[in-house]
């Protein structure tokens, strides 16, 4: 099976080291291009003026919040079913990154909401479900580190991630199921995007930039975890020898 090929940490490290520079370069280019297009080239909104530019930071962050949680859920399933050694690492390394993206989405949404809705926060379905997602991330991080045996923490976190996954479809469809103040989907919807191409392209560039940035951080975090594990192993060997 293809997954087994990457179960070997040495092979994974070789691959990660090979693609990491490319990912860093692509992240820089995409984020720079997306920010330039979004902040300078894209037209201001006819109602919202320049405040619409918050969208180029906010919407990709919200996408990532759900994307990273989905990744954690998939990695957790892989870890529980096939006991893949890297899946736990990937899930635990993803959680703080996803929490940061969720926090960014909540904060930028709040900054946009104050001038547009006249309030920092409303308890509508979309905002509430994203807030729950943020708490789920925090719970995941807390339980990962709550055990003396890290393997037990990783497994408990995997079960929690799978249970919490029910929230992701609720976030996605919350704007369709309930009458919310938050606007409905305008990019990933049946019948194609309803947003003008001048605004869509910067948004997609930012989305790709965020995704690449996530990949970079994930690879770095998994690498440092693997190196940390190796150091601990060497340390215990030395203590045994002494």
């Amino acid at each position: 099976m293809i997954l087994d090929r990457f179960a070997n940490p040495a092979r994974f490290l070789r691959l990660a080291n090979a693609i990491l520079p490319w990912c860093v370069g692509a992240t820089t280019i995409m984020l720079a291009a997306g920010l330039y297009l979004g902040l300078f080239v894209a037209p201001p909104d006819y109602q919202q003026g320049d405040s619409v530019r918050i969208m180029y930071v906010h919407v990709p962050a919200a996408w990532m919040a759900m994307f990273v949680y989905t990744n954690i859920a998939i990695a957790s399933a892989v870890s529980l079913i096939w006991r893949h050694p890297l899946a736990d690492l990937a899930a635990n390394a993803s959680a703080p990154i996803g929490a940061a993206f969720t926090f960014l989405a909540l904060v930028t949404g709040s900054l946009w909401g104050k001038p547009m809705w006249g309030t920092w926060w409303v308890w509508d379905a979309r905002l509430t479900s994203v807030l729950i997602l943020f708490f789920l991330y925090l719970g995941h991080m807390a339980i990962t580190s709550a055990f003396d045996n890290p393997a037990r923490g990783a497994k408990a976190a995997a079960v929690l991630a799978l249970v919490g996954f029910v929230n992701v479809p609720i976030i996605k469809f919350s704007v369709d199921w309930w009458n919310t103040l938050h606007q409905p989907a305008s990019v990933f919807r049946m019948g194609g995007p309803s947003i003008h191409p001048d605004m869509l392209w910067p948004l997609l560039a930012m989305g790709l930039g965020y995704t690449l940035f996530y990949v970079v951080l994930l690879l770095l975090r998994i690498k440092s975890e693997l190196i940390g594990a190796r150091l601990r192993a060497l340390d215990s060997l030395r203590q045994d020898a002494a």
Partner: protein
């Protein structure tokens, strides 16, 4: 041990320590009684917040009882025997959850009308409140069991459970309160009750699977 065997064992244990269940109900009533001091004793205002106060305090009371759900069995080793018995661990968990609900959820439902009266809530909403709690509190026990099983053997397990479980309690809280609010406003309550039942049915499937997986991890 059979399904009914576990239930009757847990119930007998609970009956011998009656003060535990009584303490939960006392906590429920006492916490709710704090709100008139916090928001002022104005009758209309109290009636307006009554459904929310009842649900939130019920939720906190259930939370309080969760840590003990598996802890005693985990510490004295009965949990390992239950895992070894021919009864599937999922069914064992369901039996323990049912016993937990009978000793916490049910007393809370019985005590809820008292708070409703103290808060001047119109009495015609009481049947809806009771139905909503009848559908909602088993969900709280089911989801809580997963949190309790996951944190077995953890450092600071008692503080960890609320962090894991409270986000998952929010849907039950939302629809539980909106059902009573609908009854108070004269709107149809059926949709809210159906949603509560949907959440109950989903957790009835997910919780035994996830909880049993967590118990197996704890036993390893």
């Amino acid at each position: 041990m059979r399904f009914t065997g576990i239930i009757s064992r847990d119930l007998r244990l609970a009956l011998r320590q009656r003060s535990d269940a009584a303490m939960i109900v006392l906590f429920f009533v006492l916490t709710a009684a704090l709100f008139p001091f916090g928001v002022g004793p104005e009758a209309n205002q109290l009636a307006a917040i009554a459904p929310g106060v009842i649900w939130v305090t019920a939720l906190l009371s259930v939370l309080l009882s969760l840590e003990r759900l598996f802890l005693a069995d985990y510490e004295d080793g009965s949990l390992e025997l239950m895992a070894l018995s021919p009864v599937p661990l999922e069914l064992t968990l369901l039996a323990k959850v049912l016993a937990h609900w009978l000793t916490t959820g049910l007393p809370l439902i019985v005590a809820a009308p008292l708070i409703a009266v103290l808060f001047n809530m119109p009495l015609e909403a009481l049947p809806t409140l009771a139905t909503a709690m009848l559908l909602g509190t088993p969900t709280l026990s089911l989801i809580g069991a997963v949190g309790a099983a996951l944190t077995l053997g953890a450092r600071r397990g008692g503080i960890l459970i609320p962090l894991l479980v409270l986000p998952l309690y929010i849907p039950t809280l939302i629809f539980g309160v909106s059902a009573v609010d609908a009854a108070l406003g004269g709107f149809p309550v059926r949709p809210h009750l159906l949603l509560l039942m949907a959440i109950l049915l989903i957790s009835l499937v997910v919780s035994p699977l996830a909880g049993a997986a967590a118990l197996r991890q704890a036993n390893e």
